[in-house]
C-alpha cells in the first residue's frame, strides 16, 4: 500500500509513518533533530487532539507536539 505526503496532524492515531520533511525555520528544525526527530525517522502517532497537540512515539520516546508544529511535519504513511 502506498500513501502520499500528509502533515502529521492528519495522521490517524495508531498509524506508523515515516518523516519526510520538516517545513520550518532552521532553529526549530535543529531543535527537533536534537530531540531525535529527523528525516527518515519512523514514528507513530499515539494520540491526537485535533485541532490541538498530538503525542508521537519516536525511537522509544514519546513527544508532545503542538498543533502548529505537527502541521509543519510532512510524513508518509506506510
Amino acid at each position: 500500500m502506498r500513501g502520499g505526503l500528509l502533515p502529521l496532524t492528519m495522521v490517524v492515531p495508531g498509524r506508523e509513518v515515516t518523516l519526510i520533511s520538516i517545513a520550518s525555520g532552521r532553529g526549530l528544525r535543529a531543535r527537533l533533530t536534537d530531540m531525535g526527530l529527523f528525516e527518515g525517522m519512523k514514528l507513530k502517532v499515539i494520540h491526537s487532539h485535533r485541532p490541538g497537540p498530538c503525542i508521537i512515539l519516536v525511537g522509544g520516546t514519546r513527544l508532545i507536539l503542538g498543533h502548529g508544529m505537527a502541521q509543519k511535519i510532512l510524513v508518509k504513511e506506510e
Partner: protein, 715 residues
C-alpha cells in the same frame, strides 16, 4: 592531603541524571518527572578513594546548540570551568537519541564517561549492548548503571578517576562528517588557528563545526575577535560551497552525519531482540489524555488536591495553634508584666510568627500533592491536555507547568519558565504567574473562610478563589499577547515521560525541599516583618492618652468589670495612636469602596508586600495587642465580632470574599518581585508587575463587593 576532582553530570531530560546526582552526593534535591526541572546549578561533594570530588548537576539538555538557556548554561560550564570529567547519563532504552548529546561532548574534546542508565529496563525491553566494543568505537568508557537501585555508582566514579588520571587506554574518536565537509572544516580551522585567544578557550574543530552549523553564540564569540572578518568570511564561503553540493541546510546534514555515526556504532554493538513498547503507560494514557475525558479528569484531580489539602490539615493546624498558645503563656509568665520586652516576645514574635506557622501543615500537604503529580509523570500530561486551551490565549502547554507550580510558590514557578524558549512567551508566563494563588495566600483564605463561611462551603469557596486567579491569569495573558507582545505562538514540543510510581521517600524529600523554602521565609522575612509591624503598632510606647487611664484604673480597683473595660479602652487608644494606626488610617480610604476600609486590615495588607502570609501574622499581632484580657481568643472569633465605628459588623461573608480576592491578586511579594527582576534582567518588569497586579486587584475586588451588594448578598 586528598586530591580534588570536579565532575559534571550531563544528560537528556528524564535520563535519571538527578537520581545519579543524589546517589553520588547524598544531597537532597528535587527530582521532577517532566523535562527541564533542573535549571539551577546544583553541586555536591563526596569523598571517594583519596579524592575529594565536587559534583555539578547540569541542566537536562538534548544538545549543545545553545538553543535554550539550559543548554547555554550547560555548555558554558563545560567550556569555561573545564570540569575534570563529564559524565553523560544516557537512557539505555533510547540509546541513539541520547548518544547525540555524547557526540557533541566528544567533539568538544572533554574527558567523557558514559553512564548507560536504566539498563535493567532496557534489558527487559530486549536491548543488549556490547560494552567493550561500543566504548572503543566511541572512544570513551561506558558503565552500566541502575540509578534507582544505586547500581554501578562505584564503577562510575572509578572510571571517572581513571580517566582524570590518564589511565584509561581508549583512543579518542570523533564524528567524521565525510570528505567534503571535513575539507571545509580544515580550511576554517586553519584560519581559526591564527586567533590565539579563541584557541585557548575552544578546540578548533569544535569551533569550526559549530560555526558551520550557524550557532549564534559561537558566531557572536568569533565576532568579538580580531580575525573575525577573515574567519567568518571563510565560514560563509564553506557553507555556501557545501550547501551547493548537498542542496540542504548544513545543520541538517551535520546532524544527519552525527546520527549516522551513532547508528553505525550501535548497529555493530547493540542488539534489540524485540520492539520497544510502552504498553502500560499507553494504556493509562488512553484514559487520562483522552479527548473527552482528559480535561474533566484533570479538573477533578485538581479539586481532589485542594480537598485533600484542606481536610487533612485541619486537625494538624489545631495542634500547632495549641503549642503556640502554650509557648506564649510560658513566656508571658517569665517576663516582666507590662514591659515592652514581654510584648515583643509574646505578641510580636510568638504571636506573629506563630500565626504563620499554623499554616505549615496546609502548605506541606499541598506540596506533597504537587509532588505526586510531578513524580508520577502526570504533570506532562496536564501540559498536553491544557495545550489546546493555552493555545487560545496565545501560549502553549509548556507555559502551563510554571502555572501549576505557582500553586505551590511563585518563586520556583517563575524560575521554571526558563525552559520556555520564546522570550515573549516567557515574559507573559512570568507576568501572569503571580495571579496563580500560591501556598502563602492560603493562610489568609483559611483564616477568613474559617471565620465567615460554614464548614461545608469552605472547599467550594477556596476552589472558586483558585479558579478566579486562573481566570485572571488567562485573561491577562490573552491581553498581553494581543497588545504588549504581539506575534504568533511559538512551537510546542516536549518529552512525555513514562508513568512511574512515586516512591514515598522521593515524595517526602520533594515536599520537604519546597516546604523548607516556606519555613525559611517564616524564619527570616516574616520574622523581621512581624517585628517591624509589632514596633509600628506598639510605638510610641506611651502616647498622650485622652484620659489618665492609670489613675482611673487605680480608683476603680474594686469594680473589676470597670477595670477590664478601662484597660481595653487604653489598649485600643494606644493602638490607634501608634505609627501603624496612623499609617492604616491614611491608606484605609483606598479600600473603602471594596468594603474593608478598616485601618487594621490596611496595615495587614501593607505588611503583605513583604510576604502575603504576613497579612495573617499582622492581624494576629494587631488584635492581640488590642485585647485587654490575657485570655487568648482565636483570631477568627475576634474577626467575626469586629465592628465598624457605626456599630455594624465589619466583616460579612461578602466583605471577607472581596478581601480574599484582593489578597489573591494584589502586588506580588518582595521575593517574587526580586525573582522577576532576576529572570527578566531589568527593573522594568518587576515594577510593571507590582503596579498592574494591584490595579487589577482593586478593580476586581470592587466589582465583587459592589456587585455583591447590588444583588443583595450582604450589607
Amino acid at each position: 592531603m586528598s586530591k580534588k576532582l570536579t565532575i559534571a553530570l550531563a544528560g537528556n531530560p528524564n535520563s535519571g541524571k538527578t537520581t545519579v546526582f543524589n546517589n553520588l552526593t547524598g544531597a537532597r534535591q528535587h527530582v521532577g518527572n517532566y523535562p527541564g526541572v533542573t535549571v539551577e546549578k546544583k553541586e555536591g561533594t563526596l569523598r571517594y578513594r583519596d579524592y575529594e570530588i565536587n559534583v555539578v548537576d547540569l541542566p537536562g539538555i538534548y544538545s549543545l546548540t545553545a538553543y535554550s538557556i539550559d543548554e547555554l548554561v550547560a555548555r558554558n560550564f563545560v567550556v569555561e570551568e573545564k570540569p575534570d570529567v563529564v559524565i553523560d547519563i544516557i537512557d539505555s532504552s533510547n540509546l541513539e537519541r541520547n548518544l547525540y548529546l555524547a557526540t557533541q561532548f566528544m567533539e568538544l574534546g572533554v574527558p567523557l564517561v558514559l553512564a548507560f542508565n536504566m539498563y535493567d529496563l532496557a534489558q527487559k525491553q530486549g536491548v543488549n549492548v556490547d560494552k567493550n566494543r561500543l566504548s572503543q568505537l566511541l572512544g570513551c568508557p561506558i558503565v552500566f548503571t541502575v540509578a534507582t537501585k544505586k547500581q554501578g555508582m562505584d564503577e562510575l566514579l572509578n572510571e571517572a578517576i581513571n580517566l582524570a588520571e590518564g589511565e584509561t587506554k581508549l583512543k579518542r574518536t570523533t564524528v567524521g562528517y565525510g570528505r567534503e565537509i571535513e575539507e571545509e572544516v580544515r580550511k576554517i580551522e586553519e584560519v581559526l588557528l591564527k586567533d590565539r585567544s579563541l584557541m585557548q578557550k575552544y578546540p578548533s574543530r569544535w569551533l569550526a563545526v559549530k560555526s558551520l552549523e550557524n550557532d549564534t553564540e559561537v558566531i557572536k564569540e568569533v565576532k568579538e575577535n580580531v580575525y573575525s572578518g577573515e574567519i567568518l568570511g571563510q565560514v560563509e564561503r564553506s557553507a555556501k560551497h557545501l550547501e551547493g553540493i548537498f542542496g540542504d541546510s548544513l545543520e541538517a546534514i551535520i546532524a544527519d552525519r552525527r546520527y549516522g555515526f551513532i547508528s553505525g556504532a550501535c548497529s555493530e554493538t547493540v542488539r534489540k531482540t524485540y520492539e520497544v513498547r510502552h504498553t502500560i503507560s499507553d494504556k493509562i494514557d488512553k484514559i487520562l489524555v483522552n479527548r473527552i475525558l482528559g480535561l474533566p479528569i484533570f479538573l477533578g484531580l485538581m479539586w481532589l488536591v485542594f480537598k485533600f489539602t484542606f481536610k487533612l490539615s485541619e486537625p494538624l493546624m489545631g495542634w500547632v495553634e495549641a503549642g503556640q498558645e502554650a509557648l506564649g503563656n510560658l513566656f508571658s509568665g517569665m517576663l516582666p508584666e507590662g514591659s515592652a520586652l514581654q510584648s515583643l516576645v509574646v505578641d510580636g514574635i510568638i504571636g506573629g510568627v506563630g500565626s504563620v506557622l499554623v499554616f505549615v501543615p496546609i502548605i506541606f500537604l499541598l506540596f506533597l500533592a504537587i509532588a505526586v503529580l510531578e513524580d508520577s509523570g502526570y504533570m506532562a500530561r496536564a501540559a498536553f491536555i491544557m495545550d489546546r486551551l493555552m493555545h487560545k490565549i496565545g501560549l502553549h502547554g509548556r507555559s502551563f507547568i510554571p502555572m501549576l507550580l505557582g500553586f505551590g510558590c511563585n518563586l520556583p514557578a517563575i524560575m521554571a519558565t526558563r525552559t520556555i524558549e520564546d522570550r515573549r512567551d516567557r515574559l507573559v508566563t512570568i507576568l501572569v504567574n503571580p495571579f496563580i494563588s500560591c501556598g502563602a495566600r492560603l493562610p489568609v483564605y483559611a483564616l477568613f473562610i474559617g471565620a465567615f463561611f460554614p464548614q461545608e462551603k469552605a472547599g467550594s469557596v477556596l476552589f472558586s478563589l483558585y479558579l478566579l486567579g486562573m481566570a485572571v491569569a488567562i485573561l491577562m495573558a490573552k491581553l498581553f499577547r494581543k497588545y504588549l507582545f504581539k506575534g504568533e505562538a511559538s512551537p510546542f514540543v516536549m518529552e512525555l515521560p513514562p508513568y512511574r510510581i512515586p516512591t514515598i521517600k522521593g515524595l517526602f524529600i520533594h515536599m520537604w525541599e519546597r516546604g523548607v523554602v516556606y519555613l525559611k521565609k517564616a524564619g527570616t522575612i516574616i520574622f523581621f516583618g512581624c517585628i517591624l509591624i509589632w514596633f509600628l503598632s506598639n510605638f510610641p510606647w506611651n502616647p498622650r492618652y485622652s484620659k489618665d487611664y492609670d489613675a482611673l484604673i487605680q480608683q476603680a480597683q474594686v469594680n473589676e468589670q470597670l477595670v477590664v473595660q478601662l484597660e481595653s479602652e487604653k489598649a485600643f487608644e494606644k493602638l490607634e495612636k501608634s505609627y501603624a494606626g496612623k499609617l492604616g488610617r491614611t491608606i484605609a480610604p483606598i479600600f473603602k469602596p471594596l468594603g474593608f476600609g478598616d485601618w487594621k486590615i490596611s496595615v495587614g495588607l501593607v505588611g503583605g508586600f513583604v510576604a502575603k502570609e504576613i497579612v495573617v501574622g499582622t492581624l494576629g499581632t494587631l488584635y492581640s495587642v488590642g485585647e485587654a484580657d490575657e485570655e487568648s481568643e482565636s483570631l477568627r472569633q475576634i474577626l467575626q465580632e469586629e465592628r465598624r465605628p457605626d456599630g455594624n459588623k465589619l466583616y460579612s461573608p461578602l466583605v471577607a470574599y472581596a478581601l480574599m480576592v484582593f489578597v489573591l491578586l494584589y502586588m506580588p511579594c518582595v521575593a517574587t518581585i526580586a525573582v522577576i527582576k532576576r529572570e527578566t534582567n531589568s527593573w522594568k518588569w518587576p515594577f510593571f508587575a507590582a503596579f498592574y497586579t494591584t490595579a487589577i486587584a482593586w478593580i476586581i475586588a470592587f466589582v465583587v463587593y459592589q456587585g455583591g451588594r447590588l444583588v443583595g448578598l450582604g450589607i
